[in-house]
């Protein structure tokens, strides 16, 4: 690890992606992710890679499809309205089993919404968004450091499972500056290995008979029996990802917690401040922070439901999306309450504290 530098999340994830061996980046400007595309336009040529400002989000994600189909570490990024446009390409990449990384620096919606932080794209990221039976691996950072670290993780997971991976960030993490420490650049040897890792299926240089290959990068299977097999195979892959890749953080979760907060990303960060203060005031409360929001840490939440837990609070920067997954994990054993903010407005730690105090009052009645 190198020295710490002060950087915006958008720039940090770009730098980390280059260090992770990404040499093909295609995107279209949109607030609040524009620092990412600007950073790439400065630094990618210096790394000997391709930076291309596409004519649209559609074009950008399909350029990623082409580069990923050639077995290269390719990435695109955008913010919510642009991510909607990328959904076509994301579905095709999932169908064609292409490893690629998509960064969503979420802003308020629906429609054009606004340019402030939001978590309104949770459903889109974790439940589909594009058409068809597919899953994205979705990573949700809650600091600039974690945002940067996830670039490397995202490419590793994408390559391992031949599946697109989304980093679900937001305007706050993208715009805010924090100290961040980067992993070293890939060595020349590592880059060579990366280039060859997908030669068994990707598009690359060919040879004469008998070793001539005809690789097809494709999501079309017109024969229903063949498509059935393909989708079942995808389903088995998703089961494997669920079994192996669930990541979460427990913050001040103890066996005698009376309240639990479940939150991800920026909302979790605010919840941590509230929990610190509540703990000092004697409230037994902890946080479960999903780091992968797909696959979701259902078991971790179920396991934290000790007999002492009276209620769960879900805090999100939306009208209540992840709460559905929390309820699935809780299976009605304790009440699950919700505190949300929309329109790009953040809640304060005090508002979370007030909500918990209110829940305490109801419990006492």
């Amino acid at each position: 690890m190198g020295e710490k530098v002060l950087m915006k999340g958008n720039e940090a994830v770009a730098e980390a992606a280059i260090r992770a061996g990404c040499r093909h980046y295609f995107a279209y400007p949109i607030t609040p992710q524009s620092e990412l595309i600007e950073y790439m336009s400065r630094m990618m040529p210096k790394a000997g890679g391709t930076f291309l400002q596409a004519e649209s989000e559609l074009a950008a994600v399909n350029m990623v499809y082409g580069a990923a189909g050639c077995g290269k570490r390719a990435m695109t990024s955008s913010s919510s309205p642009g991510i909607s446009l990328k959904m076509e390409g994301i579905s095709y990449m999932a169908g064609a089993e292409l490893p690629a990384v998509v960064v969503n620096v979420q802003r308020g919606g629906p429609g054009l919404g606004d340019i402030q932080p939001s978590q309104g794209d949770y459903f889109q990221a974790t439940k589909g968004g594009g058409h068809g039976d597919y899953k994205l691996i979705v990573l949700a950072p809650n600091s600039v450091q974690e945002f940067a670290d996830m670039a490397d993780l995202a490419f590793e997971l994408a390559d391992k499972y031949r599946n697109p991976v989304m980093i679900l960030s937001d305007g706050l993490l993208g715009q805010m500056m924090e100290p961040v420490e980067f992993k070293p650049h890939k060595t020349e040897k590592e880059m060579e290995q990366l280039d060859k890792q997908h030669f068994d299926w990707c598009m690359h240089h060919n040879q004469d008979e008998p070793n001539h290959h005809h690789h097809e990068v494709n999501s079309l299977e017109i024969d229903p029996k063949v498509l059935e097999k393909h989708v079942i195979k995808l389903g088995e892959k998703y089961e494997k990802i669920k079994a192996n890749e669930v990541r979460y953080e427990e913050y001040k979760v103890t066996d005698d917690c009376e309240y639990l907060i479940v939150a991800f990303g920026t909302a979790a960060r605010i919840a941590k401040s509230a929990i610190d203060e509540l703990n000092e005031e004697g409230v037994k409360i902890g946080l479960i922070r999903p780091i992968t929001v797909w696959p979701y840490p259902y078991e971790a939440i179920a396991k934290a439901l000790t007999p002492s837990v009276k209620k769960i609070l879900v805090t999100e920067l939306n009208l209540g999306q992840m709460i559905e997954d929390v309820k699935l994990a809780v299976e009605g054993k304790v009440p699950v309450e919700f505190l949300g903010k929309v329109g790009g407005i953040l809640f304060t730690p005090q508002e979370i504290k007030d909500k918990i105090k209110g829940m305490q009052g109801e419990t006492c009645k």
């Binding site: 596409a54 004519e55 399909n62 499809y65 082409g66 580069a67 240089h205 097809e216």
Partner: protein
Amino acid sequence: MQVIAQRPKSLTDLNFTYCPGCTHGISHRLIAEAVDELGMRNIMMGVAPVGCSVFAYKFFNFDMAEAAHGRAPAVATGMKRARPNMHVFTYQGDGDLAAIGTSEIIHAANRGEKISVFFVNNAIYGMTGGQMAPTTLPGMKTSTSPYGRDEKDIGYPITACELLNTLRAPYYIERVSLLSPQDILKAKKAVLKAMTYNKENRGFTFVEFVSTCPTNWGMTPLDAQKWAKENMYPFFPVKLFRDKGVEGGE
């Protein structure tokens, strides 16, 4: 015994899925022959579209990508940028290139992407059953223009070569036809030229094939050829628009 004609190495041995009398088989073969003759089979990659030629990725015998509808030039851009030592072409129909994919084709051409685009224009959507295309002629009846294309309501056919010829970057733009054996020989020369420029990484090359769709036009193949000469040529004249490879060709 002497072999005087055989399947090009750049075609797989799968049977084409095209209708009898369709010109896709001819344009596939012209491209495959050019790739063979230029010795490019091991450095070639292609992109298939959505439309009748959606299965083109199965027919060409080298690495192929199947793109989303209209996005072939974007996919090809990603491929060429990812493997600059390889050579890339797209194969697109009129709905794919001139309707849903207008943005992608214009911008790939405008960037001067070092790819070849082969554009099959038969003035109709074949795969979905004969609907109106952006290149459907005024008055032409299709399953979504049952009273004939009304240019006052939906506009005139889009002419792709003329449109792309307004841009500075493209290296070579030519419209040929597949309406007679002589036309096919001329088309072969255009394909060879585009692929030669492609091999030399000279820039964006574009060849449009004026083609027929006997099935959805409701004609015999011969009638379709005759009809195309009489009706399509006035809108889509066979013409060399630009060739930066020869003096005064710009």
